[in-house]
Every structure is written in structure tokens, then in C-alpha cells.
């Protein structure tokens, strides 16, 4: 085969593949978009059925609620912060083949560690206080993730079940520890953290405000976004990410390739745990006046990470956007209370969106077959060049 011919084939291959790549990203986007549209539509129908006269106004509030003023916009980022992180936790673990349903437990353990440091370690000067608090949270969450990781790697315990167990154990442990160490008995919740332990506002409280009241948004949203980018780089650009994903796709093959698959499973859970825990820390150090309640209820933020991850297609960058989107809907739902609707309609909408995002495969298939029809010509050309290649080879031998 002449060099020229070779080049043509290679070029063809490359062009063809770049198109496919294009179609892939595009179709993922379109299928998510369609799910969102269907979800909103169902939400609108629910509103219409339950109270036709107010449906339009209520629905507009859902869609526009996050934009009514700067404060509400700030609230979107504030609520997005923890769910972006639990979403990253779930999404990251998913990429490595593990379904981390234990984000809830990791989240609350992280929150406890951060608040503990925030309340007790007042000797830490300046910004080091909140930084240490965040680190402490990540270490605690990492350990909480490590246990299911170890059990899976060495004892083959299903991660889903061990994570469910760890959620409850985490909740009770935190309840126990809060009452024993940092309890405000007047409010039945954890004590206030020291001012140094609060995340800096970075002037955002001045930007995101309406009238006299400013939003709770703070540096946490940037930390969340940075975390997303870091996870993206780890997964897509590094050797470690290559190994993690290989383990996720095929553990046996990873082992065959000399990858320490046990270590990778554990590391993956450690990172997932640290991410969730960081989410917990960011929420409770936000300075919004929130304390850890001593309540026998699993932290909802952990479970909310699942739809966020799914909506973001497990892609870290996608998760940043889906987290903001879900928060945006929630702020819209809060504002919708000016109409006579129950805010649960937001959860109905989100669940419908999630449900239809599960149809991505089919929607993608449709888009692909469209794309394929358009590219038929290119494909044919490619096939021909392959045939030429074959006969040439045969001739030489």
C-alpha cells in the first residue's frame, strides 16, 4: 500500500470518527434537553389539572423564579453547591463502575467533621480555620467511603447494600457525636461554628442581594466548580483516570493489564466519599445559620446527588450544570408558593426529567440513525478504501 493511500484511509478514519464524536456529544445533549422539556411539560399538566386558573402563573414562577432578582439567583448557587458535590461523588463512582448510593452518609459525616473543627478548633488563625475544616471533612468522608470500598474489593460485598448500611450508621454516629460534643441543647442541633470557620463570601453577598437581604451564596460554589473540573481532568486526562475507568468497565481486564483493581476500587470510593463530605462541609460552613440537626432522617442532599449525576450524564462538567439546573428549579418551586400550589410539584418535575433521561439510549439511537443517513456517502467511501486495502494485501502475499 502506498503511503498516499494510507494517508487517505487514515484521514477518512479520522474524519469519520470526529463526526461520530460530534454526534455523540450532540445526541447526549439533545436527549437531556428533551427529557427536561418533557419533565417541565408534565409539571405544567400537573399544575393545570390541580388548579387551571393559576397554572400559567405558577409555571412561569418555576421557570423564572431563579431570575426574579439577584438574591434568588444567588440562592440558586447556594443550593447548587452541595448537590453538585454529591452529584460529582455519585457520577465519579459511576464512571468507575460503582453505584455510590452512600453519598448521604458520607455527606453528613463530612458535615460533622467540618462543624466539629469549626466549633472546637478555634485556635486556628484566619482562613486556615475553614480550610482545615474542609480538609477534616474530606478525610472523614474518605474514610466513610473507604469501608464499602474495602468490603467490595476484599469481600465482594455489593457496594449498593454496604452503602445503604453506611448511610444509616453515619446518621446515627453523627447524631451520637453531635449530642456528645458540639450540642446546642436549646436548638437540638450543633453549635454555631466560629466566624473564621465560615466560608468567605468574596463580596458575593453584596452582589447577590435584593433590597436589604442578601443571598447565602459564598465561596463554596467556586470550590464545587473547581472540584468538578479537577474530577473531569482526573477522569479524562490522567493515567489514574484511565485505570479507574478501565476498572469500572471491566475489572478482570484491568487486573490482566496489571492494574491494581482492588486499590482502584478503594481509591474510587475514597474520592467519592471525600467529594460528598466536602459537600456537607460547604453546606454547613456556609454561614446561613444552619446546624446539624439531631434527627433520625438521612441527609437528603446525598440522595439528590443521584439525579444530579444522572442528569449530568455522569460527566463532571455536565454535573456542574445539572446541579445548578436542579437548584434553579428548587428556587423556582420555592417562589411558586405565591400561587396556590404545593412545592412538591418540583420534585415531580425532576423525577419525570430523570425518568425520561433514562430514554437517552433510544433518543440517541434516533439521532444517530439520522446522522448515519447523512453520512452514508462518507461511510461508503471508507468501506471501499478498506476493500482496496484488502485486495492489495492479498496480492502481495
Amino acid at each position: 500500500m502506498s503511503n498516499k493511500e494510507k494517508n487517505i484511509t487514515a484521514n477518512m478514519n479520522r474524519r469519520w470518527s470526529s463526526q461520530i464524536f460530534h454526534v455523540e456529544g450532540f445526541s447526549s445533549f439533545v436527549s437531556s434537553l428533551m427529557a427536561i422539556v418533557v419533565g417541565l411539560l408534565v409539571g405544567f399538566i400537573v399544575l393545570l389539572v390541580s388548579n387551571p386558573s393559576q397554572a400559567v402563573g405558577g409555571f412561569m414562577k418555576i421557570i423564572m423564579g431563579g431570575f426574579v432578582d439577584m438574591k434568588n439567583l444567588g440562592q440558586v448557587f447556594y443550593f447548587a453547591t452541595p448537590i453538585i458535590l454529591t452529584g460529582l461523588s455519585v457520577g465519579f463512582a459511576n464512571k468507575t463502575g460503582l453505584f455510590n448510593i452512600g453519598a448521604s452518609g458520607q455527606f453528613i459525616i463530612g458535615a460533622y467533621a467540618a462543624v466539629y473543627v469549626g466549633v472546637k478548633w478555634t485556635f486556628l488563625p484566619g482562613a486556615s480555620h475553614w480550610i482545615v475544616a474542609l480538609l477534616a471533612a474530606m478525610v472523614a468522608g474518605a474514610l466513610w467511603g473507604l469501608l464499602p470500598g474495602i468490603l467490595n474489593a476484599y469481600c465482594n460485598v455489593n457496594v449498593v447494600i454496604s452503602c445503604i448500611m453506611m448511610n444509616y450508621i453515619g446518621m446515627y454516629t453523627v447524631n451520637f457525636l453531635v449530642t456528645k460534643t458540639i450540642f446546642d441543647s436549646l436548638k437540638n442541633q450543633s453549635k454555631r461554628v466560629a466566624a473564621n470557620a465560615l466560608l468567605p463570601k468574596l463580596g458575593m453577598d453584596q452582589l447577590f442581594k435584593a433590597g436589604n437581604s442578601s443571598s447565602s451564596v459564598n465561596a463554596g460554589i467556586f470550590i464545587a466548580i473547581i472540584a468538578g473540573i479537577v474530577i473531569y481532568i482526573i477522569l479524562e486526562k490522567t493515567k489514574f483516570g484511565y485505570e479507574l475507568k478501565a476498572c469500572g468497565y471491566n475489572r478482570e481486564a484491568s487486573k490482566y493489564a496489571g492494574i491494581n483493581e482492588k486499590r482502584n476500587i478503594m481509591l474510587s470510593m475514597v474520592i467519592a466519599g471525600a467529594l460528598s463530605a466536602l459537600g456537607g462541609a460547604l453546606l454547613y460552613l456556609a454561614g446561613s445559620g444552619k446546624g446539624i440537626e439531631v434527627l433520625d432522617v438521612l441527609a437528603a442532599e446525598g440522595f439528590n446527588g443521584i439525579p444530579v449525576a444522572l442528569l449530568g450524564l455522569n460527566n463532571p462538567i455536565g454535573i456542574i450544570f445539572s446541579g445548578i439546573f436542579v437548584a434553579y428549579l428548587n428556587v423556582g418551586g420555592f417562589n411558586m408558593q405565591l400561587y396556590d400550589f404545593v412545592p412538591q410539584v418540583i420534585e415531580i418535575i425532576i423525577s419525570v426529567i430523570i425518568y425520561f433521561s433514562a430514554f437517552a439510549l433510544v433518543i440517541k439511537g434516533v439521532i444517530h440513525s439520522f446522522a448515519k443517513r447523512n453520512d452514508e456517502h462518507a461511510a461508503n467511501a471508507n468501506a471501499e478504501s478498506t476493500t482496496v486495502n484488502v485486495t492489495k494485501k492479498g496480492g502481495e502475499e
Binding site: N158, V160, T173, I306, L310, V342, I354, A358
Partner: protein
């Protein structure tokens, strides 16, 4: 002895719903579909059936209305599970996704509807269903006290479901075919079994049982329904895995969980345990820690249905 009777009776309230729902999950997974939506389906089943009881309680006497409510719960469960089945089977969706969606949808829907039609979200009911002592059987010494006093008809329905499940799974043509779909759908297809249909049936059975489980869970333990089943759907999933997808082992797992839960809640009424002075939170953790430990020793040889969770595509091989 009294304490023992009490423990056993109380354990039933935890174990029976876990048993029923886990058996439901078993049918779904044995057909090849992971049903993480059990929690949501329980909520929906409990919601409609308790709403029904709430509305008709004045007109229909105790046990009959309970039986009708059970049918309504089952029907609701089936309807909800169809959404899961459609996504998992026809759309070949990731089964965790549609399950998560249903888990999110169910409580939101229950609260939304309850509030929209009755302004409050709790739906109260009067518990007229308790059986003081089963006639004749309740008088048997020991056994009567253990199993036939302070009980509910649902307890026996739970055991009946267990027996029927075992027979259906292992002794009937349907069971054989169902299991083959969960293990090797291509093989089932090649001998003319309609895999899609079998999976639909498997998911629908799980829906029916989860719906019933939701009702059975709420009846003995509260006087109203507040759009939650306290995570028992997820626990049932754990019971299913713990029980290695086998009816007999699921029974044991359900009772293990139930007993642990009972002890954790009731220790203060049991003199021996109360005297130990162990904090409540520790007791509450015990069932979960114990489960982890047991799993650590038993998980090496998992018997999960091989094709469970993998969408079946007729075209692929």
C-alpha cells in the same frame, strides 16, 4: 416468656413487610430487571390503599376493607411498576435511573395529591384490623402466644406469599421460565420464551408485592400515613441481597433485620438490655453493622441472577 412473645409479635411488624417487598424484588431480579424503585412503589401502594381506607372506613367493616385495600395497593404497585418496566424493558434504559426517578416521584406525588385534595399531607386511619387472638389457634400454648396473638391478617398473607413464591419459582413452568430470563435471556429467547413478556410479569409482580408491602408496613405501626415508609424499600433491597435471591434465605434475612430492629427499638422495655446502659444510637446502629459484618463473610459467592440489570436486546448476542 412474656418478653419473648412480645419480641416475636413485634418482630413480625418489621419482618413481614420486608419479607413481602424483598420477595417482590426477587421476582423482578430473577426476571432480569433490577428494581431499585421498591421504596417508591411501597409509598404509592400505601398511599392509595390508605386513602381508600380513610374514605371508606365508615362504610366497610375492618377485615374486608383491609383485604380490599391490599388489592388496591397491589394494583397501584403494578401500575407504577409498569413505568419502570417500560423504561427498563422497552427503552433498554439504565434501570437504576428509572428506579431513582420513581423513588423521587412517589413521595412528592403522595404529598402533592394529599395536599391538593385534603389540604393536609397525613392520611389518618383507624386501626380496626388488629386480631387480638386468632380463634382456636390463639389458644395453643406457646405457639398461640407467639404467632396467633396480637397479630394482623397481613402476617399470614406475608407467609402465604412466601410459600406461593417458593412454589411458583421452583415448581412451576412460569418460575422456570422466569429464572431463565434472569440468568440467560438469550437462552430463553432461543427456546421460544418471550423474554420481554416474562420480564414485564416479573416487574409487575414486584410492583404488586411492594405496593402491598407498603400498606402492610404502615398499618400496625402508625395511625396515619405521611408519604414515607422510612427507607424500608431500601432495606428490603438489602434483605434481598442478604437473602441471595432465594425465598428461604430471604425469609431468614427479613427476620434477622426485623429482630435487630425490634431489639434496637424495644431494648428499654427489656430489663436485661435496659440495664446495660448502652446509648440508644448504638442500638439503632446494630442492625446495620451486623448486616455489614454478615455480608463481609458471605459475599464471596454471590448468587445474583447473571443477567439482572442488563437490558435484553433481541438483536444482540
Amino acid at each position: 416468656m412474656e418478653t419473648l412473645y412480645f419480641l416475636v409479635q413485634q418482630t413480625m411488624f418489621f419482618s413481614i413487610p420486608l419479607l413481602i417487598v424483598a420477595l417482590g424484588g426477587m421476582f423482578s431480579e430473577r426476571s432480569g430487571v433490577v428494581n431499585i424503585a421498591l421504596e417508591g412503589i411501597m409509598i404509592m401502594g400505601a398511599f392509595t390503599s390508605i386513602l381508600f381506607i380513610n374514605i371508606f372506613q365508615a362504610k366497610i367493616p375492618g377485615q374486608p376493607i383491609l383485604l380490599i385495600a391490599i388489592l388496591i395497593a397491589a394494583l397501584t404497585g403494578i401500575i407504577i411498576s409498569l413505568a419502570h418496566a417500560y423504561a427498563a424493558i422497552n427503552m433498554k434504559a439504565d434501570q437504576v435511573i428509572s428506579g431513582t426517578a420513581i423513588n423521587m416521584f412517589a413521595p412528592a406525588f403522595a404529598i402533592y395529591v394529599a395536599r391538593m385534595i385534603r389540604t393536609v399531607q397525613q392520611i389518618p386511619f383507624v386501626n380496626e384490623f388488629r386480631i387480638e387472638s386468632v380463634p382456636v389457634l390463639g389458644n395453643i400454648p406457646v405457639i398461640g402466644d407467639l404467632f396467633f396473638k396480637n397479630t394482623y391478617i397481613t402476617t399470614y398473607i406475608g407467609f402465604a406469599i412466601l410459600v406461593v413464591s417458593w412454589i411458583v419459582l421452583y415448581k412451576t413452568k412460569f418460575g422456570l421460565r422466569l429464572r431463565s430470563c434472569g440468568e440467560h435471556p438469550q437462552a430463553a429467547d432461543s427456546v421460544g420464551i418471550n423474554v420481554y413478556k416474562m420480564r414485564y410479569v416479573g416487574v409487575m409482580i414486584s410492583g404488586a408485592l411492594a405496593g402491598v408491602g407498603g400498606l402492610v408496613f404502615v398499618i400496625p405501626t402508625s395511625t396515619n400515613f405521611n408519604a414515607t415508609v422510612s427507607g424500608y424499600g431500601f432495606l428490603a433491597l438489602a434483605v434481598l441481597i442478604f437473602g441471595q435471591w432465594k425465598p428461604s434465605r430471604i425469609l431468614m434475612a427479613a427476620f434477622f433485620f426485623g429482630l435487630m430492629k425490634t431489639i434496637a427499638s424495644a431494648y428499654s422495655g427489656i430489663p436485661f438490655l435496659a440495664s446495660l446502659g448502652i446509648p440508644n444510637d448504638i442500638y439503632k446502629m446494630i442492625p446495620y453493622i451486623a448486616t455489614l459484618i454478615v455480608l463481609a463473610f458471605t459475599s464471596k459467592n454471590s448468587m445474583a441472577p447473571k443477567a439482572s440489570g442488563i437490558p435484553y436486546d433481541k438483536g444482540s448476542r
